[in-house]
Every structure is written in C-alpha cells, then in structure tokens.
C-alpha cells in the first residue's frame, strides 16, 4: 500500500535505467545514508564504532570484491585472504617507504598492486574452470601468505613479522591511523570510501564490462560466440576484484586492527568472505553488505545477547552456543532462500508492491 510505484512515469532512458528506478527506493537509500552519516555517529559509542562498524565496513569491501569475481564473473576464488594480505603488505611498504604519501593514495596504490597480483593468479582461469580454478586460487592463498612470512623485506625485517601502521594524517591534524586517531574519523572515512567504491562497483556491473562478466559466468562458450573476449573479461574481473580486496586488506591492517601479521589472512579469512557472499547473495552488491553484516555482526550479537538480558552463561558454553545458533541460522536462511539474503529482500519487495492484494 505504501510501497507503490503507480504514478511514477519514466520519461527518459536515464530515469528508466537508474540504479534505483523506484522513488521509494531512492528515498530509502537517502534515509539509510542519513542514518549512517548522522544518526550512527550521534548514538554509537566507542565499542560500536571500533569493534562492530569498522570491521563490518572492511568486510563489506572485501565481499564486494569477491562478489565481482565469483558472483558476477563466475570465477570461484579461494584466494581472498592472500589478496587481502597483499593489499595490507603493499600499503605497509608504501607507507613506510614514502611517509608523506596520503592515506587515500596509499590505499588506491595498494589496491592497484593487488590488482596486478590478482591478474597474475587469474591467468590459470583462462584454461581451467569451476572447482579446478578454486584449487588454483588456493595456491595463490598459500603462496602469498608464505611469501610475506618468508621474506623479511615485506615487513621491513621486523623480528616477529608483524607489520604495524605508521600514524597517518587524513587532513590537517586529523589522524586516521595510529593511537591518536578517533574511531569516529575512522568510521566516517571508511563509510565514505566504501560507499563510493560500492557505487563504482554497482555501475561497473551495469555497464558493458559487467555484462561481459555475466555473459562469461552464464555460459562462456556462448559469450565467446557473441564476441566477448574471455581473456579480457576474466582478467578484468580478477583485476577489479583484487583491487577491492586489496583495499579491504589495507584498511583492515591500517584502520581496523592497526597491526597485523600474515597469518591473520589465512585460508579461514578466504572462507569467511566466501560465506559472506554466498549467504548475502551471489551477484549482488546489496548482498555483499548483507552477508558481511550477517557473518561479522551476528556472532558478536549472539555473544553479547545473554549478557545484555542478564543471563550469565559460562564463556565456553556461550562460545559453543554461538557456533550452534550461528550454524543453524545459516542453514535456516539458505533453506528459506538459497539465493541469499539479497534475494530475500527482492522477494519481500515484490510482495510489498502488491500488498495488501495478493495478485
């Protein structure tokens, strides 16, 4: 009844092909951004900003990256952790070798370096597909982590192999990394960065290059016949995806934890991001956010919930309960909607448009 598009006429192609063709969606998006920019900074405390919202944004970025590769271009990858590490170490080397470089340039450059590495490890995708490609990207995962662990050059010969972000300015006297940085600055910076990157990703997937990815995903032979070059399409997917994942890794090391060792980006990190896009929805930017929210926030919520309502459960029991409920919820959501949370949202939208009349 409320969610009705009757009376909204599109008079131009631009209006018809907008990201949000329905006015209510546009208003919803504006409301969401207002909440993210005004309401959350006003109410969220230090704990929320630092340990919930910042990792959520970092993971959203990583999930968008993997979604481009796996969801849009159909190339299954298990190398996400390795590429995140690549971004983190590239950013560290850049930031320590050129201390005057601005954080945004460091992030973009580390993304570019990761993109180059991604293309390199994407080469096998021209010959192999599906599960076999997953194995090839798994090699990237192990190789990269091994490399960052093995060669001291990557961590400036720190005795423990841990890299730690030098203090960097955002502008003027405001620090974005290091001990003097405020969580609010980190949150707002990441929010802006992720929002712009998500918009870019959304538009990429709607233009020619994104369509070529989807053509390759749906049937690569047919795509080749209609004139899409698999080499170009696949490698560009690897490049763009690694760019996003690299930036996610760099923000993880610099803005979220502040210091990181290569082992923090092990195979489990790859699985974590892969689960995010499977649960959130393959081939959907919204799904990347929903999946990141589900995987990052839900365990923390489950872990905090009994304490909030005054139950005192021993921590080990709580941790086991968290695993059980979390697992059950994953199965529940995948049964209700195998195509992920984003699809659930689309279905809800369809129903809302008709509501209260079922037909």
């Amino acid at each position: 009844m409320i969610y009705r598009e009757a009376g909204q006429f599109k008079t131009s192609y631009a209006a018809d092909q907008g990201i949000f063709p329905i006015r209510l969606d546009r208003m919803g998006m504006v409301a969401l951004l207002l909440i993210a920019y005004l309401a959350i900074p006003a109410v969220a405390n230090h704990y929320w900003l630092v340990s919930i919202l910042v990792p959520f944004l970092v993971f959203s970025m990583a999930a968008i990256g993997l979604n481009i590769l796996t969801g849009y271009a159909g190339q299954l990858s298990l190398g996400t952790g390795g590429f995140m590490a690549c971004g983190a170490f590239a950013a560290y080397k850049l930031a320590t070798a050129f201390p005057d470089l601005h954080i945004i340039i460091v992030l973009l450059l580390s993304g570019t370096i990761t993109a180059a590495v991604g293309v390199l490890f994407g080469l096998p995708s021209l010959r192999i597909k599906g599960f076999y490609l997953a194995v090839a990207t798994l090699a990237a995962q192990f190789f990269l982590i091994w490399m960052f662990n093995k060669f001291g050059w990557f961590n400036n010969y720190s005795p423990s192999g841990v890299i730690s972000a030098p203090p960097m300015h955002l502008f003027g006297d405001i620090y974005i990394t290091g001990p003097q940085s405020s969580p609010l600055v980190k949150y707002l910076f990441l929010l802006t960065f992720v929002a712009i990157m998500a918009l870019a990703a959304k538009n990429l997937t709607r233009c020619k290059i994104g369509r070529s990815w989807m053509a390759i995903r749906d049937m690569d032979i047919a795509a080749e016949i209609i004139g899409i070059r698999p080499l170009w399409a696949k490698l560009s997917a690897f490049a763009v995806s690694s760019f996003y994942i690299g930036i996610a890794g760099a923000t993880w090391a610099f803005i979220y934890t502040g210091s990181v060792e290569a082992l923090a980006f092990d195979i489990n990190r790859s699985f974590q991001v892969l689960f995010m896009i499977i649960i959130g929805g393959l081939g959907s930017i919204l799904g990347s956010f929903l999946g990141a929210g589900f995987i990052v926030l839900l365990p923390i919520f489950l872990n905090n919930a009994p304490g909030l309502v005054g139950w005192h459960i021993p921590v080990d029991m709580l941790a086991h309960l968290e695993f059980m409920i979390f697992g059950a919820l994953i199965i529940f959501f995948l049964i209700v909607e195998p195509h992920g949370l984003a699809r659930l949202w689309t279905v809800a939208k369809e129903k809302l448009r008709l509501w209260p009349f079922p037909h």
């Binding site: 192999g161 210091s259 082992l263 923390i300 921590v315 086991h320």
Partner: protein
C-alpha cells in the same frame, strides 16, 4: 508462518535487549579485571587451565583476604578463541566496565598483544603480557603501558642456550643447534637472539619453520634426524604442533633429553598426547610446577572444599600455575598502586605506576604462599621485565621435574637488543621516548 513468527520474535527480542546495553556496574568499591580467555577452539587445552588459574586466585583473594585492602576483585571472562579480531572486540567490550574501567589486560596471545599495544596505550590501560608478546616492549620509555615480566621470549632463548652450555661443559663451539618454530609472529621472536648468540658462542644455528597449525612435520624431522643431526633442538611451538613434533622426533630417533621447548611448548597438554614418546622431553619455564605450594593448599581448603573455584580438573598443571602467578603479580601491582594512591579501586593510569614500582621479593613470594612458583622480580620505569629467572624442567611420563636451577638470562646483552628494537619502533611510530632518569 512459523518462520515469520520466529523471525519477528527474534527481532523483537533484539530490539528489547538493546536499551540494556548501557547498564552501569552496581558497586563502587570494586576492582574490575577483564579476562581474555580461550576455553574453546583449537588451543582450548592450553586456555582452560590458564583461565582457571586466574579465576581461582582472584576468588581466593576475595574469600581469604576480603579483596585487596578491602577492595573486592570482580572479573569477567570474554572468549577470544585465540583469534585476533575477537580479542580486540573483547578488549573494547570490557575496557570500560567496573568503577574504574579495566585494571590490566592479559591478552594471552602474541597476536592480540600486538593488536592491543597502541589501543591500550591510548586508553591508559596496562597490558601485562607475561612470557609472550613483544619482547622489546620491555623498554618502558617507549612502551609505558606494556609489561613483560618476568621473562620475554628473547630472555627465554638466552636461558635455554645457557642451560645447553652448562650441559656441554661450558663451550658451544662447533655445536649444531636447530630451532623448530611455529611460522608466525610468536615463533619468529627468538630468531634474532639466537642468531646473535650463535655468533657470540660459536655454534651453528639452523632454522626449521613449521606452517600453522603444525600437523605436518614429517619432512622437517627427517631432515633434522637423518641429515642435519643437530646436537640440540629448541622448539617454539604452539598447540597441536608441540605433540606432533615430539612424536615425529621420537619417530626419527632424536634423543628427547636434547630437545627443549619454550614455556608454551611445555605443558601437560603438549606432552600427554605424545604418550610414552615424550618421556625425557624438556622445556623452559618461569613458573613452578606441582601442587605443593601453600597457595595450593589454601585453594583446596577455601575454594574446592566449599565447591567453588573452577580449576579442580586442571589443578597444579603448568598452565594453571602460570594463571595463578599471573593473577598474583597483577594483584600485587594493585597493592603497590594502592600504597601510593589509597585503598580504593585503581585506574589504569594508577596501575601503570603500580607495575613500574612493583617489587616482589622472596619474602613477598613466601608471604603470598607462592613459594617455588615464581622467582623475585623488580620492575622500574625503563625495565618492564623485572629480571625474572627461567628454569628448565623435564617430563618423566607423569609429571614435570626441575633439572636446572633458576637461570638468570644475560640481561646486559638483551637490554641492548631491546633498546635497538624499541628505538626503531619509536622512530616508525613517531614516539618520543619518556625520560626515565627523571622518574
């Protein structure tokens, strides 16, 4: 329909629960201790006795002494699963609880320690990384809020070499020593020290990294046992890697009494899975073993007899005792701080003073009932390690026995290394070191 109702109910519960977020703690005369524990996950066999040791000592202080000078201890556990991001989340969750916030953080993971150093320094909460974490954090002028007493990994490496030297009748010239280590920040800590010592003492030094989690060591041990045949093997292992290494060493016939682990490779959880093969295996330790100390009798009488306390199943294990000692040192730091600031709950900043002026003499150790469980330590503004000692113990198939006296690591050399590394950190981070001569 049922799904919908369930979903609505869950959402409603979540919404209702949110306002309760900001409930303040009730009592004011309490000292709050956050406990970052790992009772689940792959390292739970090590995490459980540690956490139990902490719980039981705090409970003993409350029931035996009525708190620290009348200030009751409260504590809350948070499960980190030995996972860095969860550790940071736990720290952020617990740091503002209690009337004065978190007193002191024991991260109990080298990775979490690294992640917390900057945060805790900014929040003015001391980190007490007892026998783990960043060795160069010993330099208090650069790391005012990090404490490494009684011994760092570098000190541990030196103590092991000293022990080997005493076994080799004083000279290590021409000897071969191998290091088998967990390929992570933790495992790499001793390398620089051992390399420096190999130059100084004239032994050859070989490195054998083991990839996490360390279940696959066949090739490593074939190389050690058949090709290199080192005179001694030192291990920096963790979790399942330890038992695997002991089994593989036995399989290639490497003599167990020439095989020394660091203190994280020397608990019951590490040797028991290897069975009879582990007999004769040695490890370095800075806390005592067994259940013979007076504090053990008190825990038995005051806690277990009344069915309180958590550590019945892990009583007297190496890591349980380490938990007790760690808790005891923290409590003594509170007491020291109270001596200056009055008998009330201490803030993190006051605790920092308490730690820097901590002086646990043998008399204090005896008075606390910790006789034999720890060696004396004395901290200062620039020395956050406190000069603790290390002892070598050996597994006889049933329990651990000391096979050496308490060994004092050679701190003149180590301090130089700490200084060099800490100053590099200060340079990278734009930190101006405090002037400790004025304190």
């Amino acid at each position: 329909m049922i799904f919908k109702k369930l979903f609505l109910a869950a959402t409603a519960a979540a919404v209702l629960a949110t306002p309760l977020l900001a409930m303040p703690a009730a009592a004011q005369n309490e000292q709050f201790m956050p406990l970052l524990v790992y009772r689940t996950g792959p390292y739970a066999p090590s995490g459980i006795p540690l956490a139990n040791g902490f719980n039981d000592y705090f409970e003993l202080i409350n029931s035996r002494d009525g708190g620290v000078n009348g200030v009751k201890l409260t504590w809350e556990e948070c499960e980190t699963n030995y996972n860095n991001d969860r550790g940071v989340e736990c720290y952020e969750r617990l740091k503002n609880q209690g009337p004065t916030g978190a007193t002191v953080v024991n991260p109990y993971a080298t990775g979490i320690t690294y992640a917390l150093i900057e945060r805790a320094t900014a929040d003015k909460i001391p980190i007490f990384s007892m026998g783990y974490g960043r060795a160069d954090a010993t330099i208090g002028s650069v790391f005012p809020y990090v404490f490494t007493a009684p011994a760092t990994y570098w000190a541990g490496a030196d103590a092991i070499i000293q022990y080997i030297q005493s076994q080799e009748k004083g000279s290590l010239k021409g000897k071969k020593i191998a290091l088998v280590y967990h390929d992570s920040a933790y495992g790499k800590e001793p390398i620089a020290t051992l390399e420096a010592l190999s130059k100084q003492e004239g032994f050859t030094f070989n490195l054998f990294p083991v990839a996490h989690p360390g279940l696959e060591q066949k090739a490593t041990w074939l190389q050690i046992g058949r090709q290199l045949r080192p005179d001694w093997v030192i291990m920096w292992g963790w979790g399942v890697m330890n038992a695997t290494a002991i089994k593989e060493a036995a399989a290639v016939g490497y003599p167990m009494d020439k095989f020394i682990g660091i203190w994280w490779s020397g608990s019951e959880a590490d040797v028991k899975p290897a069975g009879a093969a582990a007999k004769g295996y040695k490890s370095a330790q800075f806390t005592g073993t067994g259940t013979g100390a007076p504090v053990h009798a008190q825990i038995r009488d005051l806690l277990f007899a009344k069915n309180t306390g958590k550590g019945k199943d892990t009583f007297g294990e190496v890591l349980y005792n380490r938990g007790l000692v760690n808790a005891a040192v923290s409590v003594e730091a509170i007491r020291t701080a109270q001596g200056k600031f009055g008998n009330k709950p201490m803030t993190g900043e006051q605790m920092q003073w308490g730690f820097e002026n901590l002086n646990i003499t043998q008399d204090v150790i005896d008075k606390l009932g910790l006789t034999g469980l720890m060696s004396p330590i004395k901290l200062s503004c620039n020395d956050h390690e406190g000069g603790g000692s290390v002892v070598i113990q050996q597994w006889d198939g049933k329990g651990w026995n000391y096979v050496s006296d308490f060994i004092k690591p050679r701190r003149e050399m180590l301090t130089k290394m700490y200084e060099a590394s800490a100053m590099q950190y200060a340079k990278e981070k734009n930190i101006t070191p405090r002037d400790c001569s004025k304190m």
